[in-house]
């Protein structure tokens, strides 16, 4: 069965971005409307992926396959399973929000801004849908270009440094990955087909080397401690939309890479190196949690909180039980919503005050009550309060971790305290208390557009927190299959 839905999900936003670029930035209003139309269209074409998804089917669905570079047996091979389907939806959904969030704020080169996000959205859908290693790599690396431009053109004062750091850090990992992809191609007898790679036999030494190369690529992207330092810089300097996409989608690429490449292709190395991965994850969870506590810049605080939350994701993957892996995937989706919402909230305040310093705020609830209510909900979700999406994933991972080893679970559980501490403390300093200064007193509450964006996210966060079944149901069979696969040695 050949379906074109995945191709549509990739190419609708990319092709749609071209007329927007061609329009130029003079006709701002038209550009914004057209961008929104493209983003919504791109989201709508991904919906059938969810509704038409066969939850009992083991393997890839919506498969498209065509030769791309016959010279090297590279195929245009797309397909999704229960693990990747949600990310495509999440990505397309977030793109709509990003277009809305940049509606009035982006005054310079609006067309290029919108086009960059749309192109990036298409490229990232490509990453999640690729089942050919070269296709994956090509999307993986091409997505750096729009992000580099976004941070560099519309970013803060130190944007150039952040843009370079982001690009070069990520490129370092991807180049090593490229080398291992080429190696695997030769080992597999001339195939870049990921599904074939999943069956490939490899002895331990090459498995470990390839695992390390993949680790560098994906760990930078996740980011895991100690290669996380680019993220706070990139987040702080990026415009709101950039931070949202970075946190909600780009960080997931690394974690997704572990699930798609490291675990199934290199199960023995994954098991062998799991203690190291767990240790790195716990350091991210605990140590970065403490680092977040002392931040004075809101965006930096959320950036560190992202690293800490992503530590949970990698932890969930490397304890190799169903609830852990599913919890990690739920955590990824949830973090996509919550971190996007947190950055949007900071963006709302930044648009008005042009400051991200916690110290510049205080008593925002007095002047922006509606906003403060939303912000409160998202802060709660970020600290993992039950009935929000943040709780589900964390709880599942902790449960899985305790099954694996009590003390690992114990260390992971400290995040519930740390997360609450840094998020709620920040919220308290920003929102509560008396009005801190004249600037805060002059703040106006959110408008209809901002309200809609935050309300959409709030609905998603609550829905996922109260009734996560639609999310876990989709991934269940695929995770089960993955774990069965990982349990078989390839030596």
């Amino acid at each position: 069965m050949n379906s074109y839905l995945l191709s549509l999900a990739i190419w609708v936003p990319i092709i749609g971005a071209l007329p927007i670029l061609a329009l130029g930035s003079e006709r701002r209003d038209l550009v914004r409307r057209l961008s929104l139309a493209v983003a919504i269209a791109a989201f709508l074409v991904t919906l059938p992926l969810y509704t038409g998804f066969d939850r009992q089917f083991v393997g890839m669905q919506f498969v498209e396959i065509a030769p791309w570079i016959p010279r090297f047996n590279v195929q245009y091979f797309l397909g999704i399973d229960g693990i990747s389907v949600l990310f495509i939806l999440l990505n397309s959904f977030v793109t709509v929000l990003v277009v809305l969030a940049g509606w009035e704020v982006i005054e310079q080169k609006t067309a290029q801004y919108m086009a960059a996000f749309l192109i990036m959205s298409g490229l990232m859908n490509g990453i999640f849908a690729s089942l050919d290693a070269v296709l994956f790599y090509v999307f993986f690396e091409a997505s750096l270009i729009p992000m580099y431009i976004i941070i560099g053109v519309w970013g803060g004062p130190n944007r150039v440094y952040a843009a370079f750091k982001f690009f070069l850090y990520t490129l370092l990992g991807s180049l090593l990955m490229l080398v291992s992809l080429l190696y695997l191609f030769l080992e597999a007898g001339g195939s870049f087909n990921l599904l074939e790679w999943h069956q490939l036999r490899l002895s331990m030494a090459p498995q470990i080397l390839v695992f390390i190369a993949f680790l560098v690529a994906f760990a930078v992207k996740v980011p895991m401690w100690p290669v996380h330092t680019w993220l706070p810089d990139a987040h702080v300097e990026a415009p709101t939309g950039g931070s949202v996409v970075l946190a909600a989608i780009m960080l997931k690429l690394g974690a997704y890479g572990f699930v798609r490449f490291s675990l199934p292709i290199l199960p023995d190395a994954s098991h062998y190196l799991a203690p190291m991965m767990i240790a790195l994850s716990l350091i991210a969870v605990v140590y970065i949690g403490f680092v977040a506590l002392v931040q004075t810049d809101m965006k930096k605080l959320i950036a560190y909180s992202s690293i800490s939350h992503m530590g949970f994701v990698t932890l969930g993957f490397f304890i190799f039980n169903q609830i852990g892996v599913e919890g990690a995937l739920v955590q990824m989706i949830s973090h996509g919503f919550v971190s996007a919402a947190m950055f949007l909230c900071v963006g709302v305040m930044y648009d008005r005050m042009h400051s991200r310093q916690i110290a510049d705020y205080g008593g925002v609830v007095n002047t922006m009550p509606k906003f403060a209510a939303f912000f409160m909900l998202f802060a709660m979700a970020n600290s993992g309060l039950p009935a929000t999406s943040g709780f589900v994933g964390e709880f599942m991972v902790i449960l899985g971790a305790i099954k694996y080893n009590f003390w690992v679970g114990f260390a992971a559980a400290t995040t519930l305290i740390l997360g609450a501490a840094y998020t709620l403390w920040m919220y308290k300093r920003v929102a509560f208390g008396a009005v801190a200064n004249d600037h805060v007193a002059k703040l106006s509450d959110i408008g209809a557009r901002e309200f809609m964006v935050l309300a959409l996210l709030a609905a998603a966060v609550l829905a996922m927190g109260i009734y996560p079944f639609p999310f876990t149901d989709v991934m269940h069979v695929s995770v089960d299959n993955l774990l069965k696969h990982v349990a078989v040695s390839k030596l």
């Binding site: 790599y137 580099y148 490129l171 370092l172 080429l182």
Partner: protein, 493 residues
Amino acid sequence: MLNTFVMPDFYPAASELFLAAMACVILVVDAFAGPARRWLTAILTMLTLVGCMVITYLTFDGSSALTFGNMFVDDPVADFLKLLVYIAVIVVLIYGRDYMAARNLDKGEYYLLVLFATLGMMVMISAYNFLTLYLGLEMMSLSLYAMVAIDRDSARATEAAMKYFVLGALASGLLLYGMSMIYGATGTLELGVVAQAIHEGTTNRTILVFGLVFMVAGIAFKLGVVPFHMWIPDVYHGAPTAVTLFISSAPKLAAFAMALRLLVSGLFGLAEQWQTMLMIMAVASIGLGNLAAIAQTNIKRMLAYSAISHMGFMLLALMSGVAGAQLDPMALINAYSSAMYYSVAYVLMSLGTFGMVLLLSRAGYEAENLEDFKGLNQRSPWFALMMAILMFSMAGIPFFVGFFAKFSVLLAAIAAGHVAVVIIAVMFSLVGAYYYLRVVKLMYFDKPVDGAPIQAGLDMRLLLSANGLAVALFGIFPDSLMMLCTATLVRSL
């Protein structure tokens, strides 16, 4: 004696003969037409190249033919590379026209030197004998020396030409000396017979390897790889930009052909030896080229160092043909076709990049500093996009042709077991990404300092856009070009 003379078959060399004849015609026409009717020279030059293209295309049929007593070969690789050379030269002439006219450098000599250099390249590409190759090489080089100095009042250009000439002559001398050694050992100058003699193993290996070292040095000089790279930055910088554009494009294809003919067709029996030499040069070039490029503020110098690193990458593939004792024909094809693909891709990118430098230059103003690219996105979003495509492509980021060029080279090198070398190479290309990104940064993140609108003819604008889009298009659909390189090579080796 008369009855032993065999009339050679001129057909395989038809395009060379046509070009040589036309060059003589243009020489006369230009002398009579005078400066007032210079356009006549320009048009005739163009027509000559187009004519060559037609002739070569007609003989591009997948068959090989030797002629002139086995001194000259016309095989698919030769035809393919020649076609690319014509295209590159036509592009160079169009990009450089306004620039040369504004500086009053578009004299008849310029066109003639371009034609003679082209003829030299064609002879190099089709050479099947040490002497033919040397003849073509000298014809190309001497024309290039003169072209660098064409702006005779410029001290910098004269100095560059002098350096180029002295070092180039030295390199030619080395090459010739190496050839004489091989001749001494094998008793022949014909590539095929040399290969046969080495294969039979009756020759003195010491003399062969001794000669090989000199020949590799000569090739390395023409390619411009470390440690024979010193002339590149000075010549690129000193020459008028239109001439730099020329030097950085078509001659690279000819130099690749020379390397292929000498090393693969002629000295294949010594592959083990020359592969090691190439490996050292490749790693050193990729390292030095990328590191030194960071320190440059002049874009021509920066691109010069980038050219060094790119040629290093090309060598990476060229040194990956033979691995282990068993000869694997697939590995051979993969390696040499990757090297060829890389050269072609590089020439495509190099044309575009120097074309951009020419686009920003105008009468009395040389846009050769990196600063001149500041804020290009505000001055002309379209050409900023083209330059961004070119820079990302040079850095090896997908979806552009540069990525797939690197991809196939790295694949060939890994297949030959050079994993460590590949890791060094990719780490240096990470370093290299920095200076390409810096150009993008200047164009997109900075405010313009030079507000002047871009003046360029419509033909140049269109061609430059086509060039940029080709870099993108051959990246999205890389297969056609790869297959073409592979297919021509398979039929020629």
